[in-house]
């Protein structure tokens, strides 16, 4: 297995702008949540996706509403890449009635089924079988859709990894399994917890292609996804893509991250930053102008500010919501 290198110009200008926008939305959304959380305003656990933008965006750039994704506890990036509404997301994180889930789900459960986003998930490994189910529907109903399962390096040792991928493989379902190998599961290194050297090495156990990409190179991710999704849409079954990436923040807000070395942090947060690299790539290839990029960055900043404002000005859910949505009948 070799790490796939990104080719040039596979991406249209329009797509490139969308991707740059989404990456910036994720980064700025997360930076903002980080800032607000540190003020003690936000309730609960928050896991930030900053640093891993290239994965969600490189994959979701190929998807439309008929395609589904399953996500993780670190789900904000997947939501944004799958075009969930920023206001509704922020509001959800605040626990407000205008949240995408009326404030009932919170950060770990943001979902928008109509957009094909089947929910962040508080259970590590929870997404594998769920992606299989969405893939099964796509196959049986012949929708042409695919299902993408995002999962972490920690999840790769959970039993559902094995059961989910095996099922998708024997049924040749249109499912793409995307490992976000950020090197750690909470405070536990991937190398300690996993007996494999690469997650993609495990693809062979299911007779499916396994590919490793630089998960901080959005073009590389985009291209790997293209191959996998084509296979899936052609009825050739699942693919496992491992994206080597890094999370810029701690496991959750409040994590002192003593397990990271400062060189490692330095390298990832500076040299290898996915947004900086994509920006350079776009300029170098003349795909998008400096001005347009700045325009995007600014629009995003405004959108994030608005989302916070929207969330802060929204009301909390009222008492009758407590017992609503437990069953269809109430």
């Amino acid at each position: 297995m070799t790490i796939a290198k990104s080719q040039t110009k596979s991406i249209t200008q329009e797509k490139a702008k969308w991707m740059y926008q989404k990456m910036n939305e994720i980064r700025q959304f997360e930076d903002k949540v980080h800032e607000i959380f540190s003020k003690g305003v936000l309730p609960g656990f928050v896991h930030l996706y900053a640093g891993e933008e290239a994965v969600a965006v490189g994959i979701c750039a190929h998807l439309s509403e008929k395609d589904y994704i399953t996500s993780t506890h670190r789900g904000h990036g997947h939501c944004i890449a799958k075009e969930c509404d920023l206001n509704g997301m922020m509001s959800e994180i605040y626990g407000k009635a205008t949240g995408l889930c009326k404030g009932k789900g919170g950060s770990m459960h943001i979902a928008d089924v109509e957009k094909g986003m089947l929910g962040a998930n508080g259970i590590v490994g929870g997404g594998f079988p769920l992606a299989v189910g969405a893939g099964l529907t796509a196959k049986l109903k012949k929708t042409g859709g695919v299902a993408v399962c995002f999962f972490g390096d920690g999840a790769n040792n959970h039993g559902t990894f094995h059961e989910g991928i095996n099922l998708a493989a024997i049924w040749k379902l249109p499912v793409i399994f995307v490992a976000e190998n950020n090197g750690y599961a909470e405070a536990t290194p991937f190398e300690y917890a996993s007996s494999c050297q690469n997650i993609a090495d495990r693809a062979a156990a299911y007779n499916i292609p396994g590919e490793i990409v630089d998960g901080k190179d959005v073009v590389a991710v985009y291209e790997a996804a293209e191959r996998a999704i084509e296979r899936a849409r052609n009825g050739q079954g699942p693919t496992l893509i491992e994206c080597k990436t890094y999370r810029n923040y701690g496991h959750f807000e409040g994590d002192a991250q003593t397990y990271k070395s400062s060189e490692e942090k330095q390298k990832h947060l500076q040299e290898l930053d996915a947004i900086v690299r994509f920006r350079k790539h776009l300029l170098a290839n003349g795909l998008v102008s400096e001005q347009e990029l700045m325009h995007i960055e600014q629009n995003v900043a405004e959108a994030i500010e608005k989302a916070v404002e929207f969330a802060e000005n929204s009301p909390f859910p009222t008492e009758e919501e407590l017992l609503r949505d437990v069953y269809v009948s109430y």
Binding site: Y68, T70, G99, L100, C101, K102, G103, K104, G105, H109, A111, D112, V113, E114, L118, G119, N121, G122, I123, G126, F128, P129, L130, A131, V132, G133, A134, L136, T137, A138, L140, K141, G159, T160, H162, E163, G164, N166, L167, I170, W171, R324, D325, V326, Y327, V328, S329
Partner: protein, 344 residues
Amino acid sequence: MTRKISFSEAVNEAMKLAMRKDPNVILLGEDVAGGATVDHLQDDEAWGGVMGVTKGLVQEFGRERVLDTPIAEAGYMGAAVTAAATGMRPIAELMFNDFIGSCLDEVMNQGAKLRYMFGGKAKVPLTVRTMHGAGFRAAAQHSQSLYALFTHIPGLKVVVPSTPSDAKGLLLASIFDDDPVIFFEDKTLYNMKGEVDEEFYTIPLGKADIKRQGSDLTIVAIGKQVHTALKAAELLKERGIETEVVDPRTLSPLDEETILASVEKTGRLIVIDEANPRCSAATDISALVADKGFDYLDAPIKMITAPHCPVPFSPALEDLYLPTPEKVLRAAAEIIGDETIVTV
């Protein structure tokens, strides 16, 4: 038109009718057909379920809709949850309810909670069919009755039928219900015969059935234990005691009104539940009446359950494990205050 068929035939017929009615209804589970990819079994089953309950379905509906699964309960149960949330109406078979240990997360944290966590923006029309019950000499890991675990979990509906006719109507209601339903089938009831209507019909979830009318004593009994209750009622009648037997049929939602109305009439309650006693359906029903029906009660509420132990293998012990009409009579004697009842 009705005719006598077995409990397992009734369950089978419900699935057949559901699959005919709605192409989104699919069935998945281990060996629900059996023999997948075996040359001479392309359009035929090897088994049709470990107890033959799903026989004939693959012939009629094909292997696209009757899916044999690997032994991967978490995998296919989770898949069934989102298949449901994305437009299918799956029936997932968990061969024995004891195997929930392999897929509780998918049922409890995903299937049951999706709708609520998503603020109502999803529904999960999933039916999980599963076998339960002691008396089959199947030992501790294949004989439990675990409906209490599921009843505890909000977002699930729980059905435990006691007759072929109820089984059919309740299963059809479950399949076409838009919430996840756990449907319990007692393996020792499969051969029991009863009158069952040929047509498509549903029995609403949440409606108890009074299996016998009476004015002196209420017995609420679950699943197979309805028959223990009916036998006890016969014996009690010989002593002039008229027993009302209430079959809740669904534990979640529970038909509180029917139970309370019966106790209001009789003033006495025995609950029969073959599951283990602690935090059980028996305690649930008892606690309901101890609160909302307290003023009706003339005597303590008695529960006839399994003891607090695993199901033993040995027939000699398993027979002692289960509720019996004699145990019911002993409880009745106590709350009626007539020791002679025991000796009926």
